[in-house]
Subunit: 127 residues, 2 copies
DNA sequence: CGGTATCCTGCAAGATACTG
DNA sequence: CAGTATCTTGCAGGATACCG
């Protein structure tokens, strides 16, 4: 039935492009940026202040990637001096719900996960 | 109101441990492994066959990490020769819903995202 | 079969300096 | 203010060989 013969396993194949997309929008700093921009539009240095641990370079890269994927919009306000504002897009807003579901899961199960980690680290202290 | 004075911004602080957890359970190969183990218990080499692109080393690392976080269980079946089976845990099953929501988002908005990428890549061809 | 043990490489990401 | 340009480094992850 598949026109590509010997396809490995459909589930995994289907997964791949989504996996790549998640790498783009859920990477190290994206959640923090998205979280911030959902509150309000931000200037570049607003974001730096809100996320102290991020470097200029990484923040720029994160914003460009999010912009490229259409979840964030870069607005240049022509004033003196020029101001740049980042905003969440309508597409970006649709990402909020899935992320919230994920964070809710993390919050709910964190205690259980920490117990699992403690158990594992105790049983396998070192080889 | 916060008992920690000068906390940077609560949202981001709260985010950090969750961010770390997601790095553990949503990393490069975890989705594929989880997806597979939700279907059925698998032996090590079953997983290798189901996910051809993963190396032995990465698969081992992924399974150990998932096991440590309590979402996967490693069961040694004492037979001749010894067999090892990996199973999803009850905790692991609770991860399925959030992940499905995320994948549904990806599937639903993929076309829009691809348009955004095309637009971006055209407007910013190269510097 | 189900892994370790090594070696190696690319590249994500930090530090730092400079710019329109 | 909002970046770009370099340089450097840690380390995730691949390749390969070996083991109980």
């Amino acid at each position: 039935m598949p026109d590509t013969p010997n396809a490995p396993y459909e589930g995994i194949v289907i997964l791949a492009p989504h996996r790549e997309l998640l790498d783009q929008v859920l990477d190290k700093w994206s959640l923090a940026v998205l979280n911030e921009l959902c509150e309000r539009p931000c200037r570049f240095n607003d974001l730096r202040r809100a996320i102290p641990a991020v470097t200029q370079k990484s923040l720029t890269a994160t914003l460009r990637r999010l912009e490229r994927n259409g979840v964030v919009e870069r607005v240049v306000v022509s004033s003196r001096p020029v101001a740049v504002e980042y905003r969440i897009t309508p597409l970006g807003k649709t990402l909020r719900h899935p992320v919230d579901v994920l964070l809710a899961w993390a919050a709910e199960h964190m205690p259980e996960i920490e117990r699992a980690r403690a158990r594992f680290d105790e049983d396998v202290p070192a080889h």
